[in-house]
Amino acid sequence: MYNYLVRRLGFMLLTLLFVTVITFAVTNILPGDVALLILGPNATDQSIQALQAQLGLDKPLYVQYIDWVLGLLQGDMGTSLRFDEPVAQLIGEKLGRSLLLATAATAIAVFFALPLGVVAAVKQNELPDLFASMFGFIGISIPIFLWGLVFILVFAVWLGLFPTGGYVPPSEDPIGTLTHLVLPASAMGFALTAYIMRMTRSSMLEVLSEEYIKLARAKGMTQRVVVLKHALQNAIIPVITVVAFQFSYAFGGVVVLEEVFFWPGIGRLTLTAIQSRDIPLLQGCIIVVALIYMLSNLTADLLYGYFDPRIRYGGDD
């Protein structure tokens, strides 16, 4: 475990380093001169040069890169060109909201997907399996934003149960935060359910054909014990990977859902950064999303250890 953790953290740092290089390179290739963008089309050459010097844009690229990385290490992500605020502060505000949405969506998905997947596997090719599969396919094949629109229409417009969109900070109105969270989290959770359920089902099917399941039956264990105690704990291990992946997807990848629900998260912030050529902000967003990806994968790997004793002791004998 100890060696394993050291190795994993080492790899993570290395990956992060690559991400910074790529992020930096790509954002600098993007067309459009930042100084020109800020000053507008009527700016003089002199004022542009002055601004470039002020922003450090006249230095060689590698110096800019090193400055940027050193800044990152100290938590300084630069200043947003568009908002004229520190990037770290801007991201910090949205980070919590995106994490909240992603966590809620993943929790909803897991809550429905695990039991459905288990039932589908146990009743393979029977009616419950067919229903679960159909449910899964519908969830997968219709885009997330459409679910968002459907949910808004049904639960907000027709039934009036929840607000149509927006966000209220919990410090002001915790109940409001929750009511605003329900629809976007459910829409996203519904789409994620399908993937997690399919994975649970196939993983359970595999485990249910293992020899130790046959032995558990031969010992006289009831179906309930065989499925929930003997099979599920083994079957859940590959599911964790999918859940971790879905979580990071829900965190950074669903810009369109944030748009539909006016949820001011990282996704919308990234979109704004791209539209306004706000390079420091864009860089910051990419780095944070990458970091969340890596952390959720690390969490998944550590969870393996919790469920699978072979991994728990595997690294340190």
Binding site: Y2, N3, Y4, V6, R7, G10, E210, E211, Y212, K214, L215, A216, R217, A218, K219, G220, M221, T222, V225, K229, H230, Q233, N234, F307, D308, P309, R310, Y313, G314, G315, D316, D317
Partner: protein, 719 residues
């Protein structure tokens, strides 16, 4: 075992523990209904061990699992009765049978590596059985579980109960499985190939344990096995199964002394004995019929040398009393034919194979080493360790899979590598062929230094060196026809193309005992034995000089195994091939090899001709290996040498002699500190031993060879 003589023939005895009547289990498949167990009837008494033997597909496991209604769809139990404690278990509902499973009748499964749940502690897996069936408190159940673990010989049971299965060796896991079986003190244990996945030395210990436990607790055991050696060691009565039918039942000694069914005779003869020299192994030609397409007459008639027209047309015969004893056989000619005389190798005609060792060897390996990084390091094999606390240190950790091996193979010779799992024998083969990059050492093929060659040179040399693997099913490309598989090798090495290639493919397929039409079929259309023939044809296609056979018959049934071994011997004589033959089965090795290297923990401990290795002086490890092989002849019970503990981890091998931690003949400090050299103990014999003992000491106590005659006569007298 003599205390548990069978009593079921005694008319005065009460009803048997288990009585199976006309059991029929079938599977519905796309190609029709397969009757996997057909009209099976037998009975078993308390304290009796009954063996159920037969080749794969004979229906042994299906029969055993049917007893507990453990047949999954598409299978179903179509008829019959299983009378246990006066009630028919087949009438029980799922809820009722659950109370019998694991409680009154326990199943000990085959594979210790996959039969334990990896995420539950072994203790939990025993305790849940006890609490479930006996409604005990956890503390009480835990104490009973520790008792069961102690009973099966798991050391420090109280401490190990909270360990997970992966922390136990294969043999210990099998003991855990037996402990699970024993935990509720069942009346009957169904042991489904309980030792098949284990090494011989471990197998010997487990069989001994089962015998002891039975004497102590008096339960009945239904022992399912394909190994007649195991039957001879453990059983009181035997049922032989073939194509879903019980074809013979007999008292164990009677079965071996006077088999009543020709199939039984063939099974007994097919097993290569470690103390007999053969020119050619007796075989049972052909294979078990396809269960969807059974023959008109007796199922065995197509393979039976005694079959007449009546056998071929008269339907499948029923099991009826046969012979003077209590035997029953399903054979209409059993009274006419005498099967008492087994196969006797013809000493006169035995042609001693001459290997010319005067020139240079074809293949020579010098001081070969292959170290693997331990795989748990931070980068490669660099590992952080905090031994004794303090600041973590970087250190290198290796698994020394092969640690300084030297041997040579001459033209037309077969050299064997034998040892238990994990000793590094397969790694030797792969490293010597440069399929794995050696860590150190020299390899010469035909005088050319392979260890100095680049990849492309080695690739062109591969034409001369082919490999045949254990599992033909996974080594043949399932999407290519047999003709394409064999022909591709010829094309790749520019041997033949076009019509010439196809002609040669047909010839080769016929040479390995298949029909030429096999070329158009796909591998999955063949049985395991036939697939192995295809693999051999594939190896022969490029006209190699050396074929490395890595456990080529281990996955095959005994009757098929003998066919393949004979084929390998024939093509060696015909093409002048050399073999490097890797096996864990010392009986097989004896039959096919000219010289043999015995490996332990990455090192060769003994190397010499077959006669030298199988006779005194023995390396203590060779001696224990030989003694552990179960004899397929109950009259030759050998005095087994049980090794302490299990094979040490190659990550942390013992100091001095690698075998010193388990050696029954360890002499003291020298063994612990000085690594013995592999040396000729008598100059000029070519018999190399790696041991600190003197020749005299290594020749002592070879009881299992010398006292055989005496025991044999004694045993026969005793009957």
């Amino acid at each position: 075992m003599s205390t548990t003589t069978p009593t079921h023939d005694d008319p005065s005895s009460s009803s048997p523990l288990l009585e199976v009547r006309n059991l029929r289990t079938q599977f519905h498949t796309e190609s029709g209904t397969v009757v996997a167990a057909n009209d099976v009837s037998f009975s078993l008494d308390a304290g009796e061990t009954m063996g159920l033997v037969g080749e794969s597909g004979a229906g042994k496991s299906v029969t055993a699992r049917s007893l507990l209604q453990l047949i999954d769809p598409p299978g179903e139990i179509a008829g019959g009765e299983v009378i246990f404690e006066g009630e028919n278990l087949l009438d029980y509902s799922e809820k009722q049978i659950q109370r019998v499973r694991g409680n009154k009748i326990a199943l000990v499964p085959q594979d210790p590596m996959s039969s334990l749940n990896p995420v539950l502690t072994v203790g939990e897996q025993i305790i849940e059985t006890i609490t479930h069936h006996q409604g005990m408190e956890r503390d009480e159940a835990r104490a009973q579980a520790i008792d069961a673990m102690t009973d099966v010989g798991i050391p420090d049971a109280a401490e190990r109960i909270d360990d997970y299965p992966h922390e136990f060796s294969g043999g210990m896991r099998q003991r855990v499985l037996i402990a699970i079986g024993l935990s509720c003190q069942p009346d009957l244990i169904i042991a489904d190939e309980p030792t098949t996945a284990l090494d011989v030395t471990t197998q010997a210990k487990i069989l001994d344990l089962l015998n002891e436990l039975q004497e102590e607790k008096g339960m009945g055991i239904l022992m399912i096995t394909h190994n007649l050696g195991v039957v001879a060691q453990t059983c009181d009565t035997v049922g032989v199964m073939y194509a879903g039918n019980l074809v013979e039942t007999a008292e164990m000694h009677e079965l071996f002394r006077h088999p009543q069914h020709p199939y039984t005779r063939g099974l007994i003869d097919s097993i290569p004995q470690i103390d007999t020299a053969y020119d050619e192994l007796p075989t049972l030609d052909g294979a078990m019929p396809d269960l969807t397409d059974l023959p008109q007459g007796c199922n065995f008639a197509p393979r039976c040398e005694y079959a007449t027209d009546a056998c071929r047309t008269g339907g499948d015969p029923a099991l009826e009393p046969a012979g003077p004893g209590s035997s029953r056989a399903a054979c209409i000619r059993t009274d006419e034919i005498d099967l008492r005389q087994g196969y006797v190798p013809d000493d006169v005609e035995r042609t001693e194979k001459q290997v010319d060792r005067s020139g240079d060897p074809l293949f020579e390996v010098k001081n070969l080493k292959k170290y693997f990084s331990a795989g748990d390091g931070v980068i490669g094999n660099l590992s952080l360790s905090r031994n004794g606390g303090g600041i973590p240190k970087l250190e290198r950790r290796y698994v020394k899979a092969v640690d300084g091996i030297s041997f040579d193979i001459y033209e037309g010779e077969t050299v064997g590598l034998v040892g238990e799992s994990g000793c590094g024998k397969s790694t030797v083969a792969r490293t010597a062929l440069k399929l794995l990059e050696p860590t150190d050492g020299e390899v010469y093929f035909d005088g050319q230094p392979m260890h100095e060659m680049g990849d492309s040179e080695v690739r062109s040399l591969r034409r001369e060196m082919q490999m045949v693997f254990q599992d033909p099913h996974s080594s043949l490309n399932p999407r290519k026809t047999v003709g394409q598989i064999v022909g591709r090798a010829m094309e790749k090495h520019d041997i033949a193309t076009g019509e010439e290639k196809r002609q040669r493919v047909r010839e080769l397929l016929e040479r390995v005992g298949l029909s030429a039409s096999a070329a158009g079929k796909y591998p999955h259309e063949f049985s395991g034995g036939q697939q192995q023939r295809i693999a051999i044809a594939h190896a022969l296609a490029v006209e190699p000089k050396l074929i490395v056979c890595d456990e080529p018959v281990s996955a095959l049934d005994v009757s098929v195994q003998a066919q393949i071994l004979n084929l390998l011997n024939e093509i060696q004589a015909e093409f002048g091939l050399s073999y490097l033959f890797i096996s864990h089965n010392i009986g097989v090795v004896r039959h096919i090899c000219d010289r043999l290297a015995v490996m332990y923990l990455g090192k060769i401990v003994e190397f010499g001709s077959i006669e030298q290795v199988f006779d005194t002086p023995f390396h203590p490890y060779t001696e224990s290996l030989l003694s552990a092989v179960p004899h397929a002849d109950p009259t030759r019970k050998s005095e087994r040498i049980f090794l302490e503990g299990s094979v040490p981890s190659p990550l942390d091998p013992p100091s001095g002699c690698p075998f010193q931690t388990r050696c029954p003949k360890k002499i003291g400090e020298e063994c612990e500190t000085v690594v013995p050299d592999l040396e000729e103990k008598e100059a000029g014999t070519g018999h190399y031993l790696s041991c600190h003992l003197s020749i005299e000491e290594m020749s002592e106590h070879a009881g299992f060879v010398q006292s055989e005659q005496a025991e044999q006569s004694e045993a026969q007298h005793g009957d």
